[in-house]
Structures are given as C-alpha cells and as structure tokens.
Symmetry: C2
Amino acid sequence: MGALERLFQPRGVAIVGASTDPVRVGGAPVKALADYGYAGQVYPVNPKYDEIHGLKCYASVADIAGPCDLAIIAVAAAATPDVLRACGEKKIPYAVVLSGGYRESGKDGATLEAEVRQVLAETGIRMIGPNCQGVINLTDRMYATFGAIAAEPDMRAGRIAMSFQSGGFGFTIALLCEQQGVGFRYLVSGGNETDIKTPELLDAFLDDSETKVAFAMIEGVDDGRALQRVGRRGLSIGKPVIVWKIGNSETGARAAASHTANMTGQYDIYQAAFRQAGIVEARDVEQLQDLFFAFEAGRLPAGNRVAVITITGGSGIAFADRAVEGGLDLPSFEPATTEALEKIIPVFGSTGNPVDTTANLFNQVENFTSAVSHVINDPNVDQLAVLMASVSGPTAEAAAHAVVGAAEASGKPVIVAWSARRERASDAYKVLEDAGIPIVPTPVRAADAAATLSEFAARQRRLAGKTEMTITPVDVTLPDGLGALDEVAGKALLAAYDIPVTEDRIVHLGDDPACIAEGLSYPLIAKVLSPDITHKTDVGGVRANLGDAEALTEAVAEIVLAARHARPDAQIDGVIVSEMVSGAEVLAGVINDAVFGPTIAVGLGGIFTEVLRDITYRIAPFDADEAHAMLGELRARALFDGVRGGPALDVEALAEALSALSRLAWDHRGRLAELDVNPLFVRPKGQGIVAADALVVLK
Amino acid sequence: MGALERLFQPRGVAIVGASTDPVRVGGAPVKALADYGYAGQVYPVNPKYDEIHGLKCYASVADIAGPCDLAIIAVAAAATPDVLRACGEKKIPYAVVLSGGYRESGKDGATLEAEVRQVLAETGIRMIGPNCQGVINLTDRMYATFGAIAAEPDMRAGRIAMSFQSGGFGFTIALLCEQQGVGFRYLVSGGNETDIKTPELLDAFLDDSETKVAFAMIEGVDDGRALQRVGRRGLSIGKPVIVWKIGNSETGARAAASHTANMTGQYDIYQAAFRQAGIVEARDVEQLQDLFFAFEAGRLPAGNRVAVITITGGSGIAFADRAVEGGLDLPSFEPATTEALEKIIPVFGSTGNPVDTTANLFNQVENFTSAVSHVINDPNVDQLAVLMASVSGPTAEAAAHAVVGAAEASGKPVIVAWSARRERASDAYKVLEDAGIPIVPTPVRAADAAATLSEFAARQRRLAGKTEMTITPVDVTLPDGLGALDEVAGKALLAAYDIPVTEDRIVHLGDDPACIAEGLSYPLIAKVLSPDITHKTDVGGVRANLGDAEALTEAVAEIVLAARHARPDAQIDGVIVSEMVSGAEVLAGVINDAVFGPTIAVGLGGIFTEVLRDITYRIAPFDADEAHAMLGELRARALFDGVRGGPALDVEALAEALSALSRLAWDHRGRLAELDVNPLFVRPKGQGIVAADALVVLK
C-alpha cells in the first residue's frame, strides 16, 4: 500500500460538524459524498441531528460504527483538538481540517495550531490542513471538500494528481484544466500544511500507480531538499514532478506572506533547485494543460531532434521559431526520407523539415499517412509534431488514424496541434485521445511542450548515467568559536578540499618582507592578515603589483600602518604576500538559504555580478557534471571559451572546484555562516584555477 | 470613403472561373456569397455553365450587368492576365487572385507575376494575392475565399481586422480566436502581396471606423518604414496595430523562405522597429485573444499602476508576479481606501494590493461592489484587474454588475480573469461582454494584457508630447567614389553633425611628431592614416599610451614601417596623433537593413558586444528621447549609472550623439555603405562623449 493511500481511498469518511445546509463547510462534503458516487461509508457527525441528507447522523465520533479512515473536521478551530483526540481513540488514521483560525489568523491561532500538532503526535493521526479546502479523489468520487469545487459533480477523472497551498486558486486551475479535457485523479488543498506538506503529497502521488503526473502549486516549502528528492525520484521513474511556484516578485512575495504562512525563498534559487532535481517548472494554466497531456502520453524522446509536419506552411514556421528557442533541433532527413516525400508531396509544398504536405495531401489520405510514417521513422528524428490546422470531418479522422498508426509503430512521442471545432471533428479527436496522443491548440504551444519533454528526457538520461554521489568526509577541523577566519585559515579550509589556492607567505610583524618573499616571482600582492578585518581593501589593507623587494617592503609597512589607523581595535597578525595571479575573475560563495540550506553561487567578477546580476546557483553538494550545467546557465558563459583570440579557460578545473566547494559547504553546514572565494582566477585550459582570497565566517 | 473600402464592401462580386463544386477554389466563394448573407450582387463567370448554385452564370466578365467592385479570380495562372484586362475594361476596381503558380513556383511564375503587375499598372486595378486564400468581410458576410474558412458560415462578426501572409495558418488563428469569442470584421490573406501589401492593409483597417484593432501576421515585409508609419498612426489615433512576426529563428526563416517570397530581416531589428513605432508584438494565439479583448474595450490607463482584487489569495499572488515582470506597479492605496476596505473585508482577507476580499464577500454582494468601487476610484490606481476565480450563478452576475458599474463610473480600464464554465454563468458573462469588459481565463494572462495596455498607453503619451522631428540638412559634401574614407575624413563627417571627436594632429611623412603634437597632453595615441587600411590594429598601425615625445617619435616611425610592411600597396598619408581618452567604451554603427534601411546599432564595447551580444537598434532618424529608450534596452544599461563608486556617465550626451548619428545615416542613406564609431568614449556626466575613431565606407 502506497503512502497516504487510505487518505485518498478511505473505506469510510466521517464529517465532524456536519451541517444540513449543503453550501456550508460542514454540509457540502456530506452532500458530495452522498450524491457523487463515492462507494464507501459516510458518517455525518453532529449531536443536533439524527439524519442529514438522508444519512444517519452520529452524535459523536465515538458512536461511529463501521470502517472509517478519514475524518473531515468542519468545527470551529477551538473545538478541533478535542475532535482529533476523539478520532485518535477511534483509530481514524487521517483527518482533513477545513476550518481556519490557526496561525494565519494571529497569535492565538498559532497556539491552537501548536496544540493540534501535539495531538497529532499523541494520536498518530496524519492531517491535511487546517485552513484548507480539502481533498478529492475523482477516480472514486471521494469529495472531502467544500466551496465551488464541491458543486462540480461531473469532474472528469484521470491520471494527474495535484496539490496546492492556495485552495481557491488551486481549484480554479483544476477547473480550467478540466474544461480543456484534463482528467485529475487527486486534488489536495494543503492549507497551512501543519502536518502533511507538499513534498510528502508529491511523494505519495509518485507511489500511486494510477497517477502519471504529479503537480504542485506552491508559494514556498520549508524543506527545499525534500522537494528536490521527490523531483529526482520522479525523474528516475519517469513520472514528472511539475511545480508552479508563485510569490516570486517582491510584491507577490509580500502578498504570499499575508496569504499563508509559507516560506518564499529566493526565486532564482528555487529555479536552480528545480533544474538540478529534474522538476519541471510551469508558469501558467495553458502550459500546465499541455504538459499534462504531453507527459501523460508516457513517451519520452531519445534526443532533442524534432520533425514537424504541417499542412499550412506558416504554422511550421511558427513552430520552428519556438522550438529552436526552446533548445530543440530541426534536423535534416536522411536522403531516403526526402526521396520518399518528394514522390508524394506537391511541388508547392516542402519536403524539408518543417515538412509542408499542403492541404492537398488530404485529398489522398494514404499519401499523408505515408508522409507521416516516413518522417517519424527517419533515424534523425526523436519526436514528431503534426500541425493539423483546422481540418475537420472524415479527412480529420483519416489523418488522426495516420498519426496514431505512425506513433504506435515508431514508439516515438508525437504531439498534435489542432484547432478544429470539437463538434466538427469529434470522431477524429476521439481517435487521437483514445491512443493517448496529446493535442494542443497552437503550433507554438506544441513547440513548448515538445521542448519541455525533450529537456526532461535529457535530464533523465544524465541522471541515469550517474551513480549516487559519495561524499568522502575530509579530515579538517574548524576552530571553535564564532566569527571570521583569517585569510590563511580560510584558504587552508579550501586547500583541504583540494581547491587550489595561491602560494602565500606570511610576513609577521618585524620580519623582513623581502626575505620571506624569497622564491616568489614578482610582481607580488600584499594583504593585511587579520581575523577582524574582512574587507581588506576598505582599510587600505591591499597593495598589488609590487614590482620588487623595495616596493614590497614599503607596501608591507604601509599596510600595517593603514590597517592600524583604520581599525585600532583589530588584531593584526601580519601581512600575506603572494604572487599576482591572472586569469578570468570569478566569484564563488556559499549561501545558507532558509529553504534549501547550503547553496553555491557563482558568477564572473566585476560588472557581470554587480551590474548584470549574472549569477547561477546549485544546492550543495553536487558533482562536477552538475557544476558544468550550472556554469552553462551564465549569460557570459562564452567568456570561458576565450575572448578576442584569447585562450579557452579551464572550465573543467572550475567545475571541479565548485563541486569541491559544495562538498565543503555540505560537510560544514552546521558551522558555516558565510564563505566567499573572491577572486577565484580561472586560467587557460590545462592550467587550472586558483583561489586568491577566502572569507570564511563561522556560526 | 476609406482606402480599399470597395474591396471590403463591394456592391457586387464576380467569381471568374466559377465552379459548380462547392469545395473547389472557384466553387466555394459562389456558395459562400450566395448562402451566408451577403447582400450584394454575385456574378459567377464561366462559359461552361448557365447557372451555378442557383445564380445566373456569365460567359465572360464583359457580360456582367450590374454593379461589380470585386473580381475573385480562380482561373489558372496563365489565364489570369487576360481576365484582369477584361476586369479593367469593365472598370472593376479590385481583384482577389486565389490561384498559385506565380513567383513562389519558380522562374516562369515570376515572369507571369511581372505580367500581372504590368496589367495592374495599365488598368489601375488593385489586387490581393495571387497565391492567397482571399478576403472576408464578416460584418457583411462577404466571403471571397475558399478552403476550411469558407465552410464556416457562422463566424462571429466583430471589430478586429486581420491580415496575414500565410493563408492556412492565418485562418487557423482566426478560427481559434473566434472559438474564444473574438469577433472579426475583416480577414485578408495577402499571399504573394504582389500589389496590396500588409502595411497598406493595416492602414485601411485604421481608416475603417468600425475596426478597433488592426492585426497582421507576417513573415516579413519589404518596406519596414511603411509598417512603422502605420504603427505610429495607430498609436496616435489610439487604435493599436498588433503584429505577430514569424520566421525568426534560422530554421524558421529558412522555412519561411521556402514558403513565400517575403523578406525576413533580422528579428532584433524588427522588434526594435516595433517598439519605436508603438506596434504591439504578439507571439501566440492566446495572447492575441487577450489583446484583442483588452484593446477593443477602448480604455487606456493613465499610468502603470494596477490594482488587483481577488477572492482567492493565490490568484492575486500569481497576478502580482507577472504584473511586476511586465513593468506594472502595484501601488499602495490612499488611507481612505484602506479604511473603507477594512470595514467590509473579513480579517482573514487582505486590504492591501492585491486585495483579497475572500469568497465570503460574495455572501454580501453589496460589500463586494463597494470594495471594487473604492479600489478603482483610488487616485493611485490607473487600471484594475478583478480575479473572479470560478464563481458562477447569481453571485457571479451580481459581481459582474459591480465590475461594470465601477468601470463605467471611473472610466479606467478593467480586466477580469474568470474561469467559470460558460453554461453556469452565461448571464454574468453577458453582463461583462455587453459592457465591453475584457475577460481572460487566468490571472497571469490578465497581468500580461494589463501590462501591454499600459505599455501602449505609455508610448502614446510619449508620442503625444512630441512634435514631428524636423531634420535640418547639414551642409557637408561626401567625396565622390566608392570605398573607405580615412579616419580624418570620417571624423570630419561626424563633426559636421556635432558629434564630438578627438582633437587630432596629422604627422605627415617627414614631419617631426613632437612638434606636431605640441600642445596635446601626454600620454598620446598614434594611428596610421590611410584610406586603404580600415583595420589599423591588424597591421600594427596603432600605438597607445605614448608617455613622452621620444616614445611618440619612435612609435610614429614604427607605425609607418609596420603598415608599409603589412600593406605594401596601401597609400599611407601619415600618422594621426591624439590624446588618450578615457570613459566607458561604446560601439555605435549604421546598418543598412534590407527591410528598414539605415538603422543605428549601439552596444557597450568589448565583451558586452562580442560575448553577450548586448546590442540595441533603432531605425534612423530618431530624436534623443528615442535614443534614451534605445539605451534603456541594453542589459548593461546600469553601467552608465556608475560602477563600484565610479561617477555616473554622460548618457544625455550619448543620446544626443546617437540621434545625430541617425540623422547623418538618414541624410546620406544613398551613399553610406557602412559607418562604425568604435570606440566612442562616454565620459562622466557633464563631460560629454568623444568619438575616438570613425570608419566610413561609401557606396
């Protein structure tokens, strides 16, 4: 039995606080459970009534006779803990608490929510809500819900499972999708997510063999890594986890904070975490519909090469534009394919990719069938889009059969863009739908869906080639206490993780700088060494381009003087002297994200980070392969390939260093408050990287 | 009478090549014109028949008795010129040539197309097509068309006029939009656009008082400036010109080239030209629908401040995310508004912006009405979005009345996001539709449409504040002949347009460089002066950072030597000596775009242009205000505001220089093959700019 199975498929449901008014919170589920086809037992509970909506009404939970796996609790917040205790005594394993009045409503509510949490711990009850709109299992017509959705008895059942934090908007999305033909299996409004949270729901959706796609709309989660785990699991079993995250603009986040109590971390980091874990991001309802259809079909492309067949040239052009934007490639066909197409496609059509069969081909549908078959079986083609324009009637049905036949014979994914009025082509629609061929209304949306399918498949291939990342603990001990480490100690930590650092010499107060620097090649750089001074430049504590011993000696003296002047309180341990390093300047750092924990950020130095905000993120730890993907997201990525005839840089070494930094961040997540490697120089290919400074702050 | 009026509203229509088969090219329009409600005369012409579809059939055009403003020509390509001649004799002013077989089909077709053009010139006939799917006036049920659309007798008439080059895909889009409630007035498939082209059609749409929105789908146009003119005209009269351009990716453009003979210039330049002329760009069908509804409503916001009222918090958050992304601001309300809202909105709602009235407010609809009214009348609010989720029934109707009332009283634009099933809320939909309130299905789409409305209005305000740009010719004569000017002549041309250039001295062969440089401040830069050497660095012809007279003298000698060695054939006139300039390095240039003519490109120097391709365009000429808008599109725009504590740069001077360069490019459009100002240094605010080099190539 999968996780939470009895929550979704209860043998009996109690409605505590049942009402005779079918539009009230306590009345709507009674009516829906009684009337919409739910086959289990329904137990209204309310001491005021003997019967509600033709069902025997129980005075208390204790009186229920018969199997009961779920209690819908619709009483006032203050009465809920006692109801939960009664459910615990009755061994009811799941509760859905609909009413509000908890932490979203202020301090008293928060206290009540803590009490609820305590009762759950004592009784072992697992709970959805509070402050939610409930749970629906459309397959079994189990409506544990109220509001607009409870007045929709005919909602289509299907294979998409959806959870959401915002009840009303979640159901609005579900209704919109349903109107376009999407069938849902489960719909869950999690509300305050006091107990059962989005990642656990998604995990349960993956467990369920009837569910093909797991979707969540979130404002935020409190455990980002749990979300990533479920994304990776979905990727590995080929069931996509789709997430639509809202509350990303400052205004939106402010509204989200006033709306529920869910965390909304930095959107950039969420997006990076989604990519890293193979979570598919959605941003509006139409996109969701298309992805539901495309993924429900259950076929993934072996590569990013898409062929497109149109009967109207313009639609092929619009498709091509968007497909290329989405990272797809429109390959040329093998000569044999082209030759076969030339025999059947009129001269004013096109045998290239996009293929324009022209509408004439529908006059001899066997030719259209043959064209589709030749194209999909071309070895250069990983998936196919067929743009059917508005064709209807018997022609459409014949074309639909051609598409279905070709798809089934080839096993490759096929998507159809088609906009005939349903009443003019109902047979043809049915042919495609029965065969599980996704249909979207426009070529642009077909291209978007095909691109997402391809990206998901590419991530899956990358994951499949990977063994679990083994993290060998590194033998390094951090000093006790809070605050910043000095540069020497900071670099030692990097070095322990095999991140190359500059060769540094320490000039202690009173030493002869020239002697200490013996063996280093001028020009040199000198920097004040002090655990108390984290921004050395600000205190005049850095002197670069020192050409000879004399300049060095002078600089060391000046640095100490300047630092003492600026920060008389600081402990000054001396001056670090190192060779000047050159290469492309990179900043790398560790962020302790509230939602995802230790996270690595990287960007190119100077204006790229400061002006263009060209920064990319990954949740730690990760391997070098993931670091390459991370670097690939930088807009200025091409800089690593060499600029103005310059040499290509050692991206491999940078990727290794980022992976090492991510392991460091993970190992010391309990102690690291902050870590900045700035600058980190990337040298020409083969010459590696070197960290020229490190700021480590402990907590 | 507006342009092309009799094309769209003919008093009689001849169908030459009329067929008795209603699915054939010559048969479909006969049937459609006879059966769908067209009130004018219909004249089938075909010597083989006496009657077609119950109508008298004429043996030839000459036999037609009665008014005839339009001839639909459905005969083979070779027979078309003679038919056109006959139409000319009969004084039929307009022809729609449906058949293909012209330049899209090869050389013979091109010859035929030239002949057609010749006949048009002789007869004065204006023509749509050839190789097109015809013209429809849905208001008057005038279907001069064939194919799928000719089998749609019930298409809703409305106020959107649409032209497209790709016949099949254009009609597909029209049908999709129509299924969502869009009403079209005119639909025109322009085909090869041999005579009447997209800009002329758009212009005629603007002329037509019944048309509220002019839309074109294009693969390309041959006169980009004509498109801009019609965009500006639409902006000034408040009738938006919307364009969806396809064929933008390399693959898409290749497909477009094989599809029609239309130009597809560089997409970046098209997009810049759209922005410059106030043309609204669309990229898919759903977006088009929303824009049609939003613009058809006829109200524009006075600023970018949007308020949003929701009954489900999540939808407000999703709206806010996208609205902010689209450049909208969600302002705070005046205290009086907040106070009023606090009295009616439950505590678990939100009185901020987004306003969350909660679904409870529908229980007392007068409170909802009051909330909507307070919010829309807040002086900080320019437009309002109401997110109605899936509410249906009498509540929905009451809410709809509230929205209509508030919109009418305030005169501000209102958009509604609503997803109730139509059959559950038909009365409410009707209330909104009758009042012309745009309805879209999702909050995200509402935000997109509101942002586009706001952007259009902002452009309109900018245009309204402008007087026509007067270009005073500059008294400068370009030398005769082809090829490159030397740097001195190039800079002189810039200087004639008041673009500051470096103070240069010319060291002729044999001169003493130090004497010539007298009065300049070292360090200096020396560059070879030769009309034959356009890339001076490549031949060792540039030496910078010359600290004193000695270094200068040495450098001059070396430059001449190096240049002679590298290019023994080149005429070397000496060496240019100038002061070193500093500032932010910018590249500015003139592109002679095939579609738009002289166009200015600008980007920041170095990697910004080379690696990040951070370049922006404007069609010449333009004023400094437009140049500011142009610079605002650079991703690295913030660099001009000063970096790392550096001073803000003189963007005003740069904008003036770009405007001057654009006038230069326009004045000399007949002679300029190429013009590059590289580098152009932008100095701190108040210190202006200076062009340090100029390459001018004449044609």
